[in-house]
Symmetry: C2
């Protein structure tokens, strides 16, 4: 492993598996636990990278699947790689492309993983929708149609690694088949084993290409909602030369099952490597994951919910408020009085309400700025709480419906 | 007139009517010639007010018509007035509401004024379209339907002044009937006289309300494309107690006629007051107007063309480049090498091309930032050129098709 990367566990909580860490990459240091913001198509929706820095974001990710289709990995490389192209110039992660191929391909997996229940075949087609574009899964890789122009594309583990090399993120991920929720144990097991073979091929190609040590690779734990499969998959990643561990695939249909699946997995992964929980980013979920030893999280939700007018608010029921509600029409207060982001310093709830109702893009921009800043503040407070042994207090401060949720769990 | 406002002419060009001025308002100083950016619904499309400051904008305007409908003047007042509500906290202007009532009402006037030729009756309805919502024009005022909910609303000169008082901009404008292009001399004359009577009523209500001296009012010169009417209307504003003069209504069907109309008007207005040219903001147009003595300009174009992928570039044919063009796909250069705005410092033409093609809102945001910064740089260079007597050189640098346009004129 290159000396350009390291992960140090600085401190452990006394009463949980929570840990305070420091992840070094060629493009900078990430203090963990950390939130990774999604720049899916090499852009955060609604914020410039300058605004991301101002909101104290530490690390962003982009999606191989989207970028291989548009503008293409060669174009990204010609423009200097993701960090230079986007102007972020900080730590970045790319996924392998697998998740989107399978979720957009099956038309229902993403919904299932996220607990939505759109029946297969009823999903929308077209760009940005969930057209059933997956053509076949073979031992060699996955073949699918470009959502952009219908081109037939094949993504193999080797090609995913080569594309991610051109994209140039610090942290890259092995190709896996993202197993859906509705399949049985036998399919989940076969899928997990395919992901393991793809993982070994990803690692081999990565070793061949990464002579300069500018990238580090995460293995992915699959195994669905089956305890033995999660254990086997975790052990498989532990016994391979990955830099980090990512927990992927379905985490079940509710928060209790998600916690259970993560809890099954954690004892069997490599204890000294950074652990990423893929696609999870609710505030309560983060407290859950941190307590189980998760180091990094990612989710599109902070900017996605912002575009629908939802602002994250510390301690609010459901973690957020809907700024489109008429009750905010003349509210002179900030989105969250505990927040000192640009939006909270300069805009009132009433102004944001007006912008959202008037269809002004600035409304989504301001709420997005606030939600990003709120997530970075949450993670700073989580890190401080681990250091001072006050994670429970932080959780009670941030999660208003804590008691109800614990009873439900 | 309040001592909170002043306009000083610091220097005059030797070879034209161009002048370098300083406009003081309760919310700050505007160095002129200046460009006023349009925050139509109390938001610049795509930029936060912080980004407007970073792009060195000096003054913005909002539209009374849009704000009286949504969120309503009382809500803006409750949220502290436009400067506080938007977080701009700098000099602002509001128009009277007249332009939108008549342009959106007739369904074709805005197009005609701007030289587009959509025949009446073929315009689109719906929000943001040009529904024929104007119900009647009477001596008392204009009655129209809200584009939002169909409510019947009447705007009188007095009501426009009262609404603008609640909105709280520094510079306000009398109510006028914005005379269309296609009408004859007789209609234009009658319309001008109605605007004059409305102007006197606007001034009277303004005198009644403006005891605190926190606002200053502009009179509007109408008169269409008729030299004698423009002269009469200019003299009318000169002989009234307005703080500034705005040139409104149709300026003809081409740039030569626009120049002619402004040239007819300028000798007859009050020579010591700031002069605003309503709705004009092309680069060549600004050089034209400055040479005739215009002090401020406004136009939605910098951010509107940005949303369609057009970036303003010094000296480019047509003043701009279309970043959606495939030729920019892998172009590593900045939008304009002469520009040091956030977008040009951090993003390449290739990246912006990708963002626009991928439908990422950040594409429009970056081009908007650039276009705003380009307009403020243009005006800084115009001011410096007046001071050094080099306006002609600045014009040749910025307007590539200068010779062709002069020949056409």
């Amino acid at each position: 492993m290159s000396t350009e990367f390291s992960f140090d566990i600085l401190q452990r909580a006394g009463d949980s598996r929570a840990r305070r860490g420091r992840l070094r990459t060629p493009h900078g240091v990430v203090e963990t636990p950390a939130f990774i913001f999604c720049a899916t198509k090499a852009a955060i929706k609604g914020l410039t990278m300058g605004q991301m820095r101002e909101a104290q974001a530490e690390i962003v990710l982009s999606n191989t699947y989207h970028l291989m289709i548009q503008p293409g990995a060669d174009v990204v490389e010609a423009l200097g790689g993701l960090q230079a192209m986007t102007g972020w110039n900080g730590p970045m992660l790319t996924d392998s492309g697998g998740f989107q191929i399978f979720s957009m391909g099956h038309g229902s997996i993403a919904d299932e993983i996220k607990g939505r229940r759109t029946p297969p075949g009823q999903s929308k087609g077209g760009n940005g929708g969930r057209a059933t574009t997956l053509l076949k899964i073979e031992e060699s890789g996955a073949t699918f149609r470009s959502y952009l122009d219908g081109r037939k594309l094949t993504l193999t583990p080797e090609e995913s690694v080569r594309i991610q090399k051109k994209l140039g993120a610090d942290l890259v991920v092995q190709l896996d088949e993202c197993t859906p929720f509705h399949v049985d144990r036998d399919y989940t097991r076969k899928s997990m084993l395919l992901s393991q073979r793809w993982g070994d091929r990803s690692l081999a190609e990565f070793a061949r290409l990464n002579g300069d040590g500018r990238q580090a690779m995460y293995g992915i734990v699959q195994g669905g909602t089956f305890e033995d499969l999660r254990r086997d998959s975790a052990a498989w990643t532990r016994d391979r030369d990955f830099f980090g561990t990512a927990i992927g695939g379905t985490l079940g249909g509710n928060k209790a099952q998600m916690e259970e699946v993560v809890a099954w997995t954690m004892p069997h992964i490599h204890p000294d490597r950074p652990v990423h929980l893929l696609g999870i980013g609710g505030i309560r979920d983060i407290f859950m994951g941190v307590a189980l030893g998760i180091d990094t999280f990612d989710c599109v939700s902070p900017t996605r919910i912002a575009r629908h007018g939802w602002g994250l608010v510390e301690g609010a029921p459901g973690e957020r408020i809907n700024l489109r509600n008429a009750g905010f029409k003349a509210d002179p207060g900030p989105l969250d009085p505990r927040c000192d982001c640009y939006a909270c310093r300069t805009a009132s709830r009433g102004y944001v309400h007006h912008l959202l109702k008037a269809g002004e893009m600035l409304g989504a921009q301001l709420v997005s700025i606030h939600n990003v800043a709120t997530m970075t503040r949450l993670l700073r407070e989580v890190r401080a709480a681990i250091e001072t042994g006050t994670l429970g207090e932080a959780r009670r401060r941030w999660v208003a419906d804590e008691r109800a949720s614990e009873e439900a769990a």
